[in-house]
Symmetry: none
Subunit: 162 residues, 2 copies
DNA sequence: TAAAATCCCACGAAAACCCATTGTATCCCG
DNA sequence: CGGGATACAATGGGTTTTCGTGGGATTTTA
């Protein structure tokens, strides 16, 4: 895999009344360097109560990986079903959203609910992908390292939120 | 294989009295980026009680793949029979339908029966292809991951159906 | 000629687009 | 080194366009 450009850094942006959010420009930069699309793919994170996001090129890569896996084990009927399930989760349970010239997406209502995103969205780069959190949920999650919570607290203060 | 443009996302659309359904625009976009046809191919899904759909260009690709598979195992009589069966399913048991300027197809009665589609059609992207479900059947199927059923439920709610 | 498919127009809601403002970081030049 | 100008990012609001959908009219098929 070894993607050249990695998502890193953090930012806290507002979700407005229409459900629009600015994708931080440093994340957009990575998306556009990886491929030339001005779109991101959103999905529920498998482990955390947040959203996972990446660029379409990464989605294609992930898909190719699944394909190769199937061809190896094609004989087993169990493998076939598992492949179907994974494919459904990877593609049906995700949404591709374009961002406009000012770098904003319209957060799809379904994703907004799945990620429990309110009127603040915390962006965290995680290398191959990035995450979008409701900052309050991150602060409450016991699995999150304290240092990372400090970052969240800093971003909140910076913005003037308690 | 590694297709560049992949089907992803979900939507729930109405089937009207005439049997017309809108193909979600984000799926149409993929069809038209893969080839320049404004047509989709419908077939009964091999494993699930739903329809499988894709663009004509993909149908050709799939055919080529089957051909190559046959050539590899040509010696075996079983392989020959299996090839014939798969070929029949892939082509005789499928229908190519155009969509009009507003993006609607007229769902062929036979496909509607095979997929048990009522007055609601749930579209699910699965990468190379997409699926069309009767949402009630999906909710009942034990092989479908719960997270995906959540999506179906959300789409139903969104539309005001219980 | 009846039934079915295609075409056409129309409407409401949602999404995409455009423009304007603010704040912040950067640059340039005295 | 300071201060003003500049560029860009994030955000607010209004307007236009698209999408999904319904219904009627016209054409094609059996």
């Amino acid at each position: 895999m070894a993607l050249e450009h990695l998502f890193q850094g953090s930012a806290l942006n507002a979700v407005d009344g229409k459900g629009r959010v600015s994708i931080p420009s440093f994340l957009r930069g990575v998306v556009e360097r990886r491929g030339d699309a001005r779109t991101i793919v959103l999905a529920k994170h498998e482990a955390f109560p947040c959203l996972s996001a990446y660029d379409p090129a990464y989605a294609a890569l992930k898909h190719a990986k699944l394909e190769r896996l199937l061809e190896k084990e094609e004989t087993s009927p169990d493998a076939e079903l598992e492949y179907q399930q994974r494919n459904l989760m990877a593609f049906a349970a995700s949404e591709e959203v374009p961002y406009d010239s000012s770098g904003r997406i319209l957060m799809p209502p379904m994703m907004r609910r799945k990620g429990q995103i309110g009127d603040l969205a915390l962006f965290l780069g995680t290398g191959e992908t990035f995450q979008i959190w409701n900052p309050d949920l991150l602060l409450k999650d016991s699995r999150i390292p304290e240092d990372l919570k400090d970052i969240a607290r800093f971003r909140l203060e910076e913005r003037g939120v308690s």
